[in-house]
């Protein structure tokens, strides 16, 4: 591929410098929001635009790193005396900087108009601004860190600042509970990651990634390190069955922060996993791939099913994130499987598909969360059951949202399809595997992926159909205002990117070449063998897809159809008229909004087909006046299977431990003394 990057690059400063600038800008944006409690305009006039600028700079740094393919390192005069912080920007970091940068830039464009409505609320604007800045800075630093110490500090910075963002509306009990759960999960995950780094550094003899990468691990210890990384990063990424915190916490934050969390922070977890497993641990074993494929496939199907039955738009999107992260991890599992079977090119294909999907998910999930924010801004409503007919009130938001819907549903020629297509192609190469059992397992995983894609299509037909089409189901939705210009611009930006990355997959593959070259030492030789127009991941005979030509033909055929019908089929004299009339609806009574399918009713057939998956409570209430209400509550099974037993266990332990707390200061001092003695004994 001949991309314009090398031509542009000499004019720009070194990518790592740019990345550092982005971190500084994000920190400055947080700092600038400190007095926002007194002067609210600071947040929208200074802090958020600066955040957007940080995003743009990070984007530039990422593109630079991907373009040159050179890794740059720097050592900061910070940190512990014997362990200065090290930064490193290579192609993998560059790819994730690109993801962070794109969405952050859109959020910076979107935020000012959105936070205006928060100015009248009870939440502290200073907290919002400061934590947003720290949050983005933390994410950027995670991607740039080149030693475990800085990585963990940045990771905790990201987790803690996002905790305050989740707790932004802390006057609501549900918000507080979600935030607490989030903090708890983030720390259990952080602990697992820390232990994983501990294993690696024990064998590698240092906390720097370069030392860890050289560690010579026995298969057992490698598997332990893999397991710890999987649990730690998987928990952050919301993999089933550790996902239950995610749909609680992401929707609790303000919408632009939800977008950042769902679209970007989950990708940072993917980054951490790829960095540790593909870069640091090195040689993979096939059971890892199988575990990832099974868990990823399960997460994809279950996430899609739970997203299907939600009626709260933000919760629905959060569950859909669980689904997409499952798809990404499935791709990573395929990559591990192929690598362990010594098929590096196919491994590269699966890895490329997973990373491509990470970018795509960031774009369309960012778009959908921001679009939901726009709806929330205009109607103060996030319950689908109250919406309807928004397309006529908010045409631009509706159009951009539709593009997001088509992208996430994996329809050609949008971006979600391109990455899923690559994933299918990778899965279909499983016939090259040695083991027959794996050969039959992988296509079944692909079938799970197909089921997921179909369920997602249903989910988002429901979302768009209920929210934007039909008639308004409540008064405040009927009076929805247009979204402000800044919001629409941000949505439009993301929508255009969704189309662009869908139509030009070969450009993306060209960018990702450097990543696979870095991690696996190979590139996809055939991917763009026939020029940018054609995508031929394995070989031209195996499969080819030309998104530009599909678009061209779609448009061409549409034009042809129009011409055909306008000229040929109409007799010259006949004049076609199009008149407006009342809806027919089979001639029954004039349809009212209440007669439309509801969000719950739309998916009722599928809910019934997949009933064993959910904890369903269905109640028919009959009031005294004879009116009926049908109540459906869907709860997550993960609560009953995993979380509640753990909570009960913790409570029991806590009840035992509480006996220590007698209230007597001297008893506490006694414990302190005993601990001190024991510790000293251990150390010597």
């Amino acid at each position: 591929m001949s991309d314009p990057m090398p031509v542009l690059m000499p004019a720009l400063p070194a990518p790592l410098g740019l990345a550092g600038l982005a971190v500084l800008l994000a920190l400055l944006s947080g700092l600038g929001a400190l007095p926002a409690g007194r002067w609210p305009w600071l947040l929208r006039g200074f802090s958020l635009p600066l955040l957007g600028l940080a995003g743009l700079v990070a984007l530039g740094a990422g593109l630079g790193a991907l373009g040159t393919g050179q890794a740059e390192t720097a050592t900061l005069p910070l940190g512990l005396p014997w362990l200065p912080w090290q930064l490193r920007l290579d192609a993998l970091s560059g790819w994730f900087l690109l993801i962070i940068g794109l969405v952050t830039a859109a959020v910076g464009l979107y935020g000012p108009a959105y936070v205006r409505s928060l100015e009248r609320g009870q939440g502290s604007l200073a907290t919002l601004g400061v934590c947003s800045g720290l949050f983005v800075a933390g994410m950027l630093l995670v991607v740039l860190a080149a030693d475990a110490f800085l990585f963990m500090i940045a990771w905790e910075l990201m987790s803690l600042s996002s905790y305050f963002l989740v707790a932004f509306q802390h006057e609501q009990a549900a918000s507080r509970r979600a935030a607490f759960l989030y903090l708890l999960m983030a720390h259990i995950g952080g602990l697992a990651i820390l232990l994983g780094f501990g294993v690696l550094s024990a064998f590698g003899g240092g906390f720097a990634f370069t030392a860890m990468g050289g560690a010579d691990l026995s298969p057992t210890w490698a598997t332990i390190a893999f397991g710890l990384a999987f649990v730690g990063f998987g928990m952050k990424a919301g993999l089933v069955p550790l996902h239950a915190w995610l749909p609680e916490s992401h929707p609790a934050a303000p919408s632009h922060i939800s977008a950042l969390m769902s679209a970007v922070m989950l990708k940072v977890a993917v980054y951490g996993f790829v960095r540790v497993v593909f870069d640091l641990i090195g040689t993979p074993h096939w059971p890892w791939g199988v575990v990832l494929i099974i868990i990823g496939g399960g997460a994809a199907v279950l996430g899609a099913l739970y997203a299907l039955v939600q009626t709260d738009l933000k919760r629905l999107l959060a569950y859909s994130s669980v689904e997409n992260l499952g798809v990404i991890f499935l791709g990573l599992g395929l990559a591990l499987l192929f690598l362990s079977a010594d098929l590096p090119v196919l491994g590269a294909l699966a890895l490329v598909a997973a990373l491509y999907h990470a970018l795509n998910h960031a774009l369309f999930k960012g778009l959908l969360f921001l679009g939901t924010g726009a709806i929330l801004h205009s109607t103060h409503e996030r319950d689908l059951e109250q919406m309807g007919g928004l397309l006529r009130r908010m045409p631009w938001t509706g159009l951009f949202f539709l593009i997001g819907v088509l992208s996430i549903a994996g329809l050609p020629p949008f971006n979600g399809f391109a990455s899923e297509w690559l994933l299918f192609q990778a899965a279909l190469q499983s016939w090259q595997l040695e083991s027959g059992v794996l050969r039959s397992l992988v296509p079944i995983a692909a079938a799970a992926l197909a089921l997921t894609a179909a369920l997602v299509a249903v989910t988002f037909v429901k979302v768009f159909g209920i929210a934007f089409l039909g008639q308004a189901r409540s008064r405040h939705v009927r009076r929805a205002r247009r979204a402000p210009l800044g919001m629409r611009a941000a949505l439009g930006l993301l929508a255009v990117l969704c189309i662009a990355f869908g139509v030009l997959p070969s450009v993306v593959l060209g960018l990702l070449d450097q990543v696979t070259l870095l991690l696996l030492g190979v590139r996809l030789p055939q991917a763009t063998a026939h020029g940018w127009l054609w995508l031929t991941p394995v070989s031209p005979d195996t499969a080819s897809y030309s998104a530009p030509l599909v678009v061209l033909l779609l448009l061409g055929i549409a034009g042809l159809t129009l011409v055909l019908f306008k000229s040929l089929l109409n007799p010259p004299g006949a004049r076609q008229r199009q008149r407006r009339c009342d809806p027919w609806d089979c001639g029954f009574a004039a349809p009212t909004p209440a007669m439309q399918a509801s969000a719950g009713g739309f998916v009722q057939p599928l809910r019934r087909v997949f009933a064993p998956t959910f904890m369903l409570t269905e109640l028919l209430l009959i009031r005294d006046d004879g009116s009926h209400r049908w109540l459906v509550r869907v709860a997550d099974r993960a609560w009953g299977w995993l979380y509640l037993p753990v909570v009960r266990l913790l409570e029991q332990v806590a009840r035992r431990v509480v006996r220590l707390q007698s209230g007597n200061v001297r008893v506490y001092l006694g414990w302190t003394l005993a601990t001190l003695v024991v510790l000293l004994w251990i150390i010597t």
Partner: protein, 271 residues
């Protein structure tokens, strides 16, 4: 192995074996007893066809006899006896409610993969094109057992048992070109006797507890005969066994769901 290198007859053996496996799945999922018996008959006929084709390929004349024997016994006689039994017990319109059908079907798929994994190291090259069929026959045996586990209806359990026997027979034909004729005759006789015994037992069971739901055999314990409606997640506690016509089928139409007059709780609420 490349399919295209095999002769047409050998290809058809593979095809027939695959169909035998398919019929095992049909048996597993078929809720109507009569249709399940038909599926079993077809499975027997296919086994007979496999035997006949193998006989043709290998020129083994005694296999023609076993093919004929299988056809008469498995495809005609036993299904006819079962059919008669079902009619005498007035179970023609019986539909069993299969608990968790998706889980059972995925279990069966897992068993297929598992049996292949088991067979992989032990199959010898000299078996030629039939070696992979052994995996299929093992899967048929295991699925038959799974059917006996997942079904509560005694006749369905017998079908599971008989299809296990089908699997064993397929393995014998495909691996060694059939057992000696004496053994085969003995087995066939055993199966026939077993069938007769089953029939007698069913009539007795049906007479004494008015049902063929094996979960209800627990109630032969004297103490809680009236209280225990059966265990094992079978969703048909008051199955009369005789007149089940699908009226109690949980699949109602869309409209009917909205007018359920009482509360229906399918699990506990979230805390």
């Amino acid at each position: 192995m490349n399919m295209a290198e095999l002769s047409l007859l050998q290809q058809s053996v593979v095809l027939l074996a695959a169909l035998v496996l398919f019929l095992s799945f049909v048996l597993l999922a078929q809720a109507r007893l009569v249709s399940a018996i038909h599926a079993f008959a077809w499975q027997g006929a296919l086994i007979a066809a496999v035997t006949a084709v193998v006989a043709l390929i290998q020129g083994a004349h005694h296999l023609y006899v076993s093919a004929l024997l299988t056809l008469v016994l498995k495809a005609l006689l036993i299904p006819w006896m079962l059919h008669r039994l079902v009619r005498r017990l007035a179970l023609e319109r019986h539909r069993e409610t299969i608990a968790r059908p998706a889980l059972v079907a995925s279990g069966a798929v897992a068993l297929v993969i598992f049996s292949w994994w088991l067979v992989l190291p032990i199959i010898a090259d000299k078996l030629g094109f039939t070696r992979n069929i052994i995996a299929v026959s093992l899967a048929v045996v295991l699925i038959g057992l799974l059917m006996m586990v997942s079904r509560a209806q005694a006749v369905a359990q017998v079908l599971g048992f008989m299809s296990m026997e089908n699997g064993l027979f397929l393995a014998a034909v495909s691996a060694t070109g059939g057992m000696p004729l004496v053994v085969e005759l003995g087995v066939a006789f055993d199966v026939l006797v077993a069938m007769v015994l089953f029939g007698v037992f069913f009539l007795q069971i049906s007479d004494s507890i008015d049902s063929l739901d094996v979960d209800r055999l627990n109630r032969l314990r004297e103490a809680d005969a009236a209280a225990d409606p059966g265990v094992g997640g079978v969703a048909d506690p008051d199955d009369g066994g005789a007149t089940e016509t699908g009226a109690r089928d949980p699949n109602r139409t869309l409209g009917a769901d909205v007018t359920v007059p009482a509360s229906r709780s399918a699990g506990e609420a979230r805390p």
